[in-house]
């Protein structure tokens, strides 16, 4: 029996960790890859994506937010 709150917490720490916890390995890889690419882009373009004065910064941060939220929701929902 897995704990729904723990799986959600793990996905909050990093997308995909909650899925690893509940044994959904393919989902975990997809979430982790998506979040990693976006974090990489953020640190790679640094200042440009952190000043929020251009559409790309909203796009990247928005996508990252969606991945986090969906990963949390998905892990919580699928925990049995």
């Amino acid at each position: 029996m897995k704990n729904k709150n723990i799986s959600a917490l793990l996905s909050l720490l990093f997308p995909g960790l909650g899925q690893l916890y509940i044994g959904k390995y393919i989902d975990a890889v997809v979430f982790m890859a998506g979040a990693s690419v976006l974090w990489f882009a953020i640190f790679r373009r640094g200042y440009y994506l952190m000043t929020f004065d251009n559409p790309k910064s909203f796009l990247v941060w928005g996508a990252l937010g969606i991945i986090y939220l969906y990963s949390i929701f998905d892990a919580y929902r699928k925990t049995k």
Partner: protein, 369 residues
């Protein structure tokens, strides 16, 4: 069988990853977000500025003003905006300093070998250095309180790196400087550009402009060609005012060194260059990178030295520097338009180029009289 990985195994790495990401994020954030944190820094810098500058700036700048300052474009060469704009500025401020004399003051024979934390690796040509040798004190303003390491601007006293809160505040300050004939330089759309005037709609900047100067018959050997400033509006300015709205200004605070003193310094640097260039090549072979203002290869220095020694009748030495300039040019052309090559390819290119000019620099060094 129990499916999934244990929470005990995942929680600790999870917390570490989240913590690392947060730390990285906060360390990279725009400091303007934490403006309040830097109030002390701001007050300290602004108070220092009042005492450091000899010129008393007006309370309010003139409503509009424009100086007849040009730039000097080296046809066919990219990446020398910093020389092209500053040589025009010094020509206006000190009419006897032409392009070649300015370069002569800017350490054309120096090769730096990272001897201490404040020295870079590679060509030593530097426009700020020329200004300091000509009796000016350099300042740099920025909307970022974290200034680059001293090796980036070795000729600026670290106390003269001044923090401003906003670009608007900087613009007003620059107008006060211009009102007192102290001409600032900004980096606009990647190019060092002197701000030579302003009106109610915008500013005039001397920004390297090949469209005005580059013709088919001109090339790196052509004596730099004057070009006129361009106008940009206040709406356009903030979009391309690069690197935390940095700007530079030079205040005349002392006497210039004589050309004879500079000659002796250049002669000494030429001698040192022969050993330093070997150290630089070794450094590159061990995986080091050249980070300097001298884009790719220093053609302007060699061409200036060629013209300088031709005028003085030392044709053997002049031709040696012409030979070096030609090697640099062949190397530059071999790159094509490949500005996005990898770090290792750039390193190979530098090693190859420096190895080719090394014997010539060694010969030239002993020919200085």
């Amino acid at each position: 069988m129990k499916k999934g990985i244990s929470a005990k195994i995942l929680l600790i790495p999870g917390f570490i990853i989240a913590l690392l990401l947060l730390l990285l994020l906060f360390s990279s954030l725009d400091p303007q977000i934490f403006l309040g944190r830097f109030n002390g820094e701001y007050e300290k810098n602004q108070a220092y500025l009042l005492t450091a500058m000899k010129t008393k700036l007006p309370e309010t700048p003139l409503p509009e003003i424009k100086f007849p300052i040009q730039g000097y474009r080296i046809p066919g060469l990219g990446g020398f905006c910093w020389i092209e704009s500053s040589s025009g500025l010094i020509k206006y401020l000190e009419p006897d300093i032409d392009f070649d004399t300015f370069i002569f003051y800017a350490r054309p024979t120096l090769v730096m070998a990272g001897r201490n934390k404040n020295e870079r690796w590679g060509p030593g040509l530097n426009q700020t250095h020329a200004f300091t040798e000509l009796g000016y004190t350099a300042f740099r303003g920025s909307t970022n309180p974290r200034h680059p390491p001293q090796s980036v601007f070795p000729d600026i006293d670290p106390r003269n790196l001044i923090y401003f809160k906003t670009a608007e505040e900087e613009l007003t300050f620059m107008k006060k400087l211009i009102s007192m004939k102290i001409i600032p330089t900004i980096v606009y759309a990647g190019d060092f550009s002197t701000v030579v005037g302003y009106n109610r709609e915008g500013i005039w900047i001397v920004k390297s402009d090949p469209s005005q100067t580059d013709r088919e018959e001109r090339n790196f050997m052509t004596y730099p060609v004057p070009f006129e400033p361009t106008f940009i509006t206040y709406e356009e300015l903030p979009k391309d005012w690069d690197l935390d709205h940095q700007f530079f200004w030079f205040e005349k605070t002392g006497l210039r060194k004589s050309e004879n003193e500079i000659y002796l310094e250049n002669k000494q640097n030429a001698k040192e260059a022969t050993q330093n260039i070997r150290i630089v090549i070794d450094f590159l072979k061990k995986g080091g990178n050249l980070v300097d203002f001298t884009y790719e290869i220093d053609i302007p220095s060699s061409m200036t030295l060629y013209r300088y020694f031709t005028k003085r009748g030392n044709l053997d030495l002049a031709n040696k520097y012409l030979e070096i300039a030609k090697i640099y040019e062949v190397q530059r052309v071999s790159l094509g338009k490949d500005s996005g090559r990898s770090e290792s390819n750039a390193r190979k290119f530098y090693i190859e180029t420096l190895t080719k000019v090394q014997p010539l620099l060694e010969k030239a060094a002993v020919m200085w009289q």
